[in-house]
C-alpha cells in the first residue's frame, strides 16, 4: 500500500481499538466492586521508535487509549513504561503495545526500516547516591539528556 493509504488505514484501526478500549473501561467501572476484572500492572515494553516524533506519537496514542497509560520512557534503553488496566500477563500487554507500535511505524515511515527492539532487560538502577536527591536527578536516570546540552553554557 502506498504511504497516505497506510496512514488512513492506521487511523481506522486505531479508531476501532479506541472504541473497544472505551467500552471495556466503561463496562469495568460500572461493574460492582468485587466483580471488577481489572488487573493493573506497570510493564517495561521494549520499543522500536527512534526519532522524537515517533516517541511522542506512540506514547500519546498509548495514553489516549483508555486502560493504558505511558508513565515514562527511556530513550537510551528503548523502553516504554506502560501502566495497563487489564493485564493478564506481561507478554500480553507487551504484545498489544508492540502491535500498535508496528502499525504506527509502518504508517509513519515511508520505508518501514529498522523495527528491531532491545531484547535484554535494561539494567536500570539509580544513579550514584552521591548525587543530590532531587526531582531532576531522578529524571535523568530513566530519560537521560544527551551530554551536548552542557556545551551550550561554557
Amino acid at each position: 500500500m502506498s504511504w497516505p493509504f497506510r496512514i488512513i488505514g492506521f487511523l481506522l484501526w486505531y479508531a476501532k481499538e479506541f472504541l473497544l478500549a472505551n467500552l471495556s473501561v466503561t463496562a469495568d467501572v460500572l461493574r460492582p466492586r468485587r466483580r471488577m476484572k481489572m488487573r493493573p500492572a506497570i510493564v517495561a515494553v521494549p520499543a522500536a521508535s527512534r526519532t522524537d516524533s515517533e516517541w511522542t506519537l506512540i506514547s500519546s496514542l498509548i495514553t489516549l487509549t483508555p486502560g493504558t497509560l505511558t508513565i515514562t520512557l527511556s530513550r537510551e534503553h528503548g523502553i516504554l513504561y506502560v501502566h495497563g488496566m487489564f493485564v493478564d500477563s506481561r507478554e500480553q500487554l507487551v504484545a498489544e503495545i508492540q502491535e500498535m507500535e508496528d502499525r504506527l511505524l509502518h504508517a509513519m515511515r515511508r520505508e518501514p526500516g529498522d523495527l528491531s527492539r532491545p531484547t535484554e532487560r535494561p539494567v536500570v538502577r539509580p544513579l550514584d547516591e552521591a548525587a543530590p536527591p532531587s526531582a531532576t536527578s531522578e529524571r535523568t536516570e530513566t530519560a537521560p539528556h544527551p551530554p551536548t546540552e552542557a556545551g551550550e553554557n561554557p
Binding site: 479506541f18 472504541l19 472505551n22 473501561v25 467501572v29 460500572l30 481489572m38 497509560l69 515514562t72
Partner: protein, 118 residues
C-alpha cells in the same frame, strides 16, 4: 425536512452518549483505587466523551466552518488530554504515589532509589 430531523436526532444521541461517558468516568474517579487507574478512567471522558459531544453539536448545526472548528477542537482535545495524563502520572510516580495493591507487576519500581524517600 426528513433528513435534517434525522441528523438532528443523531446529534442529540451523540451528545447524550458523550454525557453518559463523562458520568461513568466520574463514577470511576470515586471507585478506582489509585492515581494511575483513575487517570485511565478519566481518559474515556476526555477522549470519547468530549469528542462525541463536539460531534453531536456539529451534527445539530452543520456548516463548513463548523466542521473545521470541530475537527480542530477534537484533535486539540485528544492531544492535550494525552499529554496531561502522562504528566500527571509521571509527577505522581516521582512523588511516590504508589500503585494500588492489586497492581501485580511493577517494573518501574526498579528505578526507585528507596521506597520511603519523599
Amino acid at each position: 425536512m426528513e433528513l435534517t430531523d434525522i441528523i438532528e436526532a443523531l446529534g442529540l444521541v451523540f451528545i447524550f452518549l458523550g454525557i453518559g461517558t463523562i458520568i461513568v468516568s466520574a463514577i470511576g474517579l470515586f471507585k478506582l483505587p489509585d492515581l494511575y487507574l483513575r487517570a485511565s478512567a478519566v481518559g474515556t471522558s476526555a477522549g470519547l466523551g468530549v469528542a462525541s459531544i463536539v460531534l453531536g453539536a456539529l451534527l445539530m448545526d452543520f456548516s463548513g466552518m463548523n466542521l473545521i472548528k470541530a475537527v480542530i477542537a477534537i484533535i486539540a482535545q485528544l492531544l492535550t488530554s494525552a499529554v496531561g495524563s502522562m504528566a500527571i502520572a509521571r509527577a505522581g510516580y516521582l512523588n511516590n504515589a504508589l500503585p494500588a495493591e492489586i497492581t501485580h507487576i511493577d517494573e518501574l519500581r526498579l528505578t526507585r532509589r528507596s521506597p520511603d524517600r519523599s
